[in-house]
Symmetry: C2
Subunit: 419 residues, 2 copies
């Protein structure tokens, strides 16, 4: 037995018991806890900032980049924003108990499908300590117990936040182990928890590719994973010029380092003369390097030749591949071949094209005359998200609280038996 196995088993068993106690709780109790968390975050703000300073000093000494340090940092303002985010979750409907559908059967039975929590969530994430609070709030409000495993660089911040969470659980009479923090940076604990498919219902890894690949390989329970976003903007022959430029610029430049930023511009050959020169100039003026197919390379000064590899790469940077296509079919074919089924947009004024694109592009989000950047839980109306799934099973696209639930059938009768 490893030195940590007993600890891992205790965590998982505690969560399983907490989950059973959380599942039937009405929203009022859960909301009272959320409000207590928000209040205690404010009351204990200085203490949390002090704990965060230990992480910040260690991070600076360890040579973390300034971007990483900025993600790690907690200030009084950021803690206030966290408290507000928790209060926002109070305002969202409790998914548990929702009657998804119901009917009366010919034999008089009333059948309903009722939403229930998934049970125990194992959430693995990196760096940003604000995620600790978000994840705890979303899991508990959706009736799930959660085991949080944050990044080692944020361990002191996370301990301080966990202390607020736990104090609030106890004072509101919720199960103390509804939210547990893996209070060690020993990586063998992650492997042990991933082996406990009988106690943990789902693992959600949020972080870099190597983390997600490890989790996928080792997990014995379902995983909601988040791989690449290789997203496209296709400009159809009939596209409005302003809309085409605005949507492409927004999709590429508004936040180039995120998964729903566009990587490739596809443009119908009939729109090229009208649109491409102006669009290329706008992109280049924002520092975007254009990697061009042979036909577009001739038209765009400062462009470089695109490679097959570019088409299949999530650059997460101000780099955009450009390809002129002969038809919408060729654009769809390109998206199927090189895309990652994350988010793809068409700009068009043609009803037939929009219908074809919607039907044939099988991506988590299909955008018609809107930026790819809208594939986000808040923007799609979920209120808040715990992650974005690139899977097709159970949850696809942004995962809000409903995606942290399952359902059960409730059958009400008056003595019916089966013949």
């Amino acid at each position: 037995m490893s030195t940590t196995l007993e600890y891992s088993q205790t965590l998982a068993r505690n969560s399983r018991l907490a989950a059973a106690a959380l599942a039937p709780l009405a929203a009022g109790k859960k909301n009272a806890w959320l409000q207590r968390v928000a209040n205690n975050l404010r009351a204990r703000s200085a203490e949390i900032v002090a704990a965060n300073e230990i992480d910040m000093s260690a991070g600076a000494a360890a040579g973390l980049s300034s971007a990483m340090l900025d993600r790690l940092k907690l200030t009084a303002d950021r803690i206030e924003a966290l408290a507000k985010a928790v209060e926002h979750i109070i305002s969202l409907p409790d998914p548990v108990g929702e009657v998804i559908e119901g009917q009366r059967r010919p034999n008089g039975l009333f059948i309903s499908r009722v939403r229930v929590p998934l049970g125990v969530v194992f959430f693995i994430y990196e760096s940003r300590p604000n995620v600790t609070i978000d994840a705890a709030a979303l899991c508990v409000k959706s009736g799930n117990a959660v085991i949080l495993r944050g990044g080692s660089e944020a361990i002191h911040s996370n301990r301080a936040l966990q202390s607020v969470i736990e104090e609030s659980l106890i004072s509101e009479g919720l199960p103390q182990h509804a939210v547990q923090l893996v209070n060690s940076t020993d990586r063998s604990i992650v492997g042990e928890l991933l082996s406990m498919g009988n106690l943990i219902d789902v693992t959600i890894p949020r972080g870099g590719r190597s983390l997600i690949e490890r989790v996928t390989r080792e997990a014995t329970m379902p995983v909601i994973k988040h791989f690449d976003g290789i997203c496209h903007v296709y400009i159809d022959a009939s596209a409005d010029k302003t809309m085409a430029i605005d949507i492409t610029i927004n999709s590429k430049c508004q936040r180039p380092g995120v998964c729903n930023a566009a990587e490739t511009l596809l443009i119908h050959r009939d729109a090229v003369d009208r649109l491409l020169p102006a669009l290329a100039k706008e992109l280049q003026s924002r520092g975007v390097e254009l990697r061009c197919c042979p036909a577009s390379l001739n038209m765009i000064s400062g462009g470089v030749a695109v490679t097959e590899t570019d088409y299949g790469t999530e650059h997460m940077a101000l780099i955009m591949s450009v390809r002129i296509v002969d038809s919408i079919d060729q654009a769809i074919e390109h998206i199927r071949r090189y895309g990652s089924a994350h988010t793809d947009a068409i700009v068009t004024n043609c009803v037939a094209s929009s219908m074809e694109f919607e039907a044939e592009v099988d991506s988590a989000a299909v955008m018609i005359n809107a930026s790819t950047r809208f594939n986000d839980g808040g923007e799609l109306g979920m209120g808040a998200e715990i992650g974005i799934s690139t899977d097709r099973f159970h949850a696809r696209g942004p995962c809000g609280m409903r995606e942290l639930t399952s359902y059960k059938f409730v059958v009400r009768g008056s003595g019916q038996v089966r013949s």
Copy 2:
């Protein structure tokens, strides 16, 4: 490279291409194919029976039990029933394209969540060749390509049925590889297909425990699995006598070898004198062996002492454990401890008890004054089922066509960008 790997890869790639072609097909095309299958089953009935006779002879020679042989057998009548089942699936709504929900966002975007097929289903099953037709019909109508791997004892029957399916696909202009049969009994093909998580979206094993354990261990894609059904009937203090007897008898005896049959009777001590003697006599008169807790053993002549192991066993036979409980809480505690979260029933006339049981028993189906045997796709209003899931993730309980789908977000705008 194994001798079969090329074959397995071809199967999976063909399915992937077929899935892309199937996904946008309207219901009319799919229903025309289903009607063609029904017609061709009738037209080629004699040929299918002849193929089945080869399997039946081989099965008899191999010493299959008469129950197994009966499951394997196809007759003209059974083929007519199969054709009728296919025609029933025509009458069910196409799940693909269903708008699950939609809303208009404050920025004017129209958001909808639209049902799409999962993609490629790998379905592994045993014995009964009628499942071949059911699975093909349900998968294709829900827009999925399917790879069928039936039992080796049914290979000639399945080849004949597959020939009907494929002929019908071709004549109706559907992708020929929408339904493929693993045309070999080499078990290494199963392992190879299970390793192709990039080409196959879900595996559904339907069969014995060892099959399901193998699939769970080897699969690199999500699995909809079906483990034990350890189901309970709890008779509350206020239960109506006739209802209690009818529901218990039906839950235990109507078909004792299936997963939604009851294994354990829990009875409130205040109902014991009024109900247990008559109920025990009714059960025993139907050949049920009663395994009794100490308190009930004194009351039931012919009962034997129950063991801890009995409480956790799916007998699939005319055996029932009996336990007298002090309270509904003790009944719920028993169900949590020994049950498999499959199907559990309460018989009660008390509103508070029914609400507590519904809230606290977290099983795929919770029955209030109805037999456990109603946990079935047809009985719950799904029309037809491809299996029953004992998982919580994606699909729980009976899996109809909707459980073979995912969804995508469709966002319609007029040039919106994110600020």
